[in-house]
C-alpha cells in the first residue's frame, strides 16, 4: 500500500504557544486512520496544520508532493476535504446550496448534479430537507450534510474533526457506519480525529495516539483497542 499523506516533524504554533512538538505519521492510500488523544493533545491542530490554517513548520506531503506554503483553498483543490470542528455548515444557505459548494472547485460541472443525487441516496434525510436553510437542521443532520458536502469534492482524502461531537450515541453509530461505507466503497481515505476512542478504533484500521503534541503510540487499530494498558493510560476507557 502506498503512502497518501505523510507528515514529518510537524510543529505548530498559536502565537507564541507551541501546540505540536515534532509530530510524524503516515496515512496509507485507502485506509481509515484515526488520531486519538485527550482534549488539548493537538488533534485539531494537526488537521488545521495539514490545511495550512495554523502556522507550522515541518514536512507535509500529499501524494508525494509537499503542501508547505500552499494556501488553504489550493490544498483543498488537491482533493483534501476537511470537515472542521463545528462542521463548517453554511447555515444561511440551503442544504442543496451547501452540497453545490462542496463541489465548487471542481471543473467537471456536468457530473455535479448526479453526485448530489448520490448524496441524497446516502443520506435520505438531506433530500427531504434540500430547500431548507442548513442552520435549521438538527446536529446529526448537519453532520451528515458536512460529510456529504466534503464528499462532493470527490476527495482523495477526507479529514474529519470529531464527527461525534454533540451527537446522540445512536446517530454517532449511524454516522460511523456511513463513514466506513464511504471508505470501502468510494475508496476515500479518511483521517478522523476522535475523543470517542472506542468507536473510532472499531472502524479504523490504523491508529495514532497523541499526547501534548507528540505521537506516543501507533499501530493497528485492533491491537491498540486490545491493549489494556494503552487504553487505561491514554484513552480512558
Amino acid at each position: 500500500m502506498s503512502v497518501l499523506l505523510s507528515v514529518h516533524d510537524l510543529r505548530a504554533y498559536y502565537g507564541q504557544v507551541q501546540a505540536l512538538h515534532g509530530l510524524s505519521f503516515d496515512l496509507n492510500e485507502g485506509s481509515m486512520t484515526t488520531l486519538l488523544g485527550a482534549n488539548g493533545a493537538g488533534k485539531t491542530t494537526t488537521l488545521r496544520a495539514i490545511c495550512n490554517m495554523v502556522r507550522s513548520t515541518g514536512g507535509i506531503q500529499f501524494e508525494g508532493k509537499p503542501l508547505n506554503g500552499k494556501s488553504t483553498e489550493n490544498i483543498v483543490r488537491l482533493g483534501i476535504a476537511h470537515v472542521p470542528q463545528g462542521r463548517g455548515t453554511f447555515t444561511t444557505l440551503t442544504v442543496e446550496e451547501n452540497l453545490q459548494l462542496g463541489a465548487i472547485s471542481r471543473k467537471d460541472t456536468k457530473a455535479i448534479s448526479s453526485d448530489i443525487e448520490r448524496m441524497y441516496a446516502h443520506f435520505p434525510v438531506l433530500k427531504q430537507r434540500h430547500t431548507q436553510q442548513a442552520g435549521t437542521l438538527s446536529g446529526g443532520e448537519q453532520q451528515m450534510l458536512a460529510v456529504a458536502r466534503a464528499l462532493m469534492l470527490r476527495p482523495r482524502l477526507m479529514l474529519l474533526d470529531e464527527p461525534s461531537f454533540g451527537l446522540a450515541p445512536l446517530i454517532v453509530r449511524d454516522l460511523f457506519n456511513i463513514l466506513g461505507k464511504i471508505n470501502r466503497e468510494d475508496k476515500v481515505s479518511i483521517l478522523v480525529v476522535e475523543q470517542n476512542a472506542q468507536l473510532a478504533l472499531e472502524i479504523a484500521d490504523k491508529a495514532y495516539v497523541i499526547e501534548t503534541g507528540r505521537i506516543v503510540m501507533s499501530g493497528n487499530a485492533k491491537e491498540i483497542a486490545n491493549d489494556e494498558s494503552v487504553r487505561k493510560s491514554y484513552l480512558g476507557y
Partner: protein
C-alpha cells in the same frame, strides 16, 4: 389626489437613483461587512470618466460600457491596494480608510475636471413618458435600468456558481476556504461589481443633478437610508428601500408644512435612525435562523 399621484411617481423616479446607490452599498456590505462611505465618490468619478470619454467623441453606449469596465477594474484595484491590507484591521481603521478614499477621490476629481457643473446627456431623452406629464422618458429609463439591474443581480447570485461562491465567502469565510473558494478574490470581485453598479447609478443621476465632484453627497445619504430601510443584506430590499425613500421624501416635502427642500436631508437621516431602532434588519433583511 392628482398631486398625490404626481408626487408618488416623481418619488419613484428619484427613488430609482437611491435604489441603484443602495444596491452598490449592499454589494460591498455583503462582501466585507462594512459600509463604504466612498461609494458615492467612486460613482461620481466613474461618471466623470464617462463624460470625458464622450468629450473625446466616444458614442454614448460605448462610453457607458467602457466606463463600466474601467470602474469594475478600478474597484478591484482599490480593494487590492487599500482594503486587502486592512482586512483584519479593526472597524475604525477601515472607516478611516473609507473616509480617506472619499477625500482623495473627491479632490482628484476636482483637480482633473474642476468644480464647475457640467451637462450630462441622457440616452432616453427628456420628453414626457407615454404622453404623461408626470414622469419623463429619462426617469422611466432610470426605473427600467434599476429593475433590470436587480433582476440581473438576482439571477447572478442565485443561479451561477461564482455567485454562490460569493455568497458563501460573505457568509462564512473560513468554511468557504475549506471548500476551495479563494475568498480574498471574492471580496475583490464584490468591490468591482459594486463599483460598476455605482457607475451606472452615477451615469443615470448625472443628467438630473448635473455633473460636479460633490454631486453624490446627498444621494449617498439617501442610498444609505434606502439600504438600511430595505435591510443591508438584501439587494431586493435595497431597491425597494430606494423607491420607498424616494416616495417618502417627496410626500413629506409636499404635505408637511415647513419641511420644504431644506429639511429633506435630515429626514433621510431620521429615517435611518428610526429603522435601526425599530427594525434593525430592515424590511427584507434576513434574520439568521438558528437552531438552539
Amino acid at each position: 389626489m392628482e398631486l398625490f399621484i404626481n408626487q408618488v411617481l416623481a418619488g419613484i423616479a428619484t427613488g430609482a437613483i437611491y435604489a441603484c446607490m443602495a444596491l452598490a452599498i449592499v454589494m460591498i456590505y455583503q462582501a466585507i461587512d462594512h459600509l463604504n462611505f466612498a461609494q458615492g465618490e467612486m460613482a461620481m468619478f466613474s461618471t466623470f470618466i464617462a463624460w470625458q470619454l464622450m468629450q473625446w467623441g466616444v458614442p454614448y453606449w460605448w462610453a457607458f460600457l467602457l466606463t463600466l469596465i474601467i470602474s469594475f477594474a478600478g474597484g478591484i484595484i482599490i480593494e487590492r491596494l487599500l482594503f486587502k491590507p486592512l482586512a483584519k484591521a479593526p472597524v475604525l481603521t477601515n472607516v478611516a480608510g473609507f473616509i480617506a478614499l472619499f477625500a482623495i477621490v473627491n479632490s482628484v476629481a476636482g483637480l482633473i475636471w474642476d468644480f464647475t457643473i457640467k451637462q450630462f446627456p441622457t440616452p432616453f431623452g427628456s420628453s414626457p413618458f407615454l404622453g404623461s406629464q408626470l414622469i419623463s422618458t429619462h426617469q422611466a429609463g432610470m426605473i427600467g435600468v434599476t429593475l433590470g439591474l436587480l433582476v440581473a443581480l438576482f439571477l447572478f447570485f442565485r443561479f451561477t456558481r461564482i455567485g454562490l461562491a460569493m455568497r458563501a465567502a460573505a457568509a462564512m469565510p473560513e468554511s468557504a476556504r475549506l471548500v476551495g473558494i479563494n475568498t480574498s478574490w471574492m471580496v475583490a470581485l464584490g468591490w468591482g461589481m459594486a463599483s460598476a453598479i455605482g457607475a451606472i447609478a452615477g451615469i443615470l443621476i448625472a443628467p438630473v443633478v448635473f455633473l460636479e465632484p460633490n454631486m453624490m453627497l446627498g444621494v449617498l445619504l439617501y442610498g444609505f437610508a434606502a439600504a438600511v430601510l430595505g435591510g443591508l443584506t438584501s439587494p431586493l430590499g435595497a431597491v425597494l428601500g430606494g423607491f420607498l425613500v424616494g416616495i417618502f421624501e417627496n410626500l413629506v416635502g409636499t404635505y408637511i408644512p415647513g419641511v420644504g427642500n431644506e429639511l429633506k436631508l435630515p429626514i433621510a437621516l431620521a429615517l435611518i435612525v428610526i429603522v435601526l431602532v425599530v427594525k434593525p434588519t430592515g424590511l427584507m433583511g434576513r434574520a439568521v435562523v438558528k437552531r438552539v
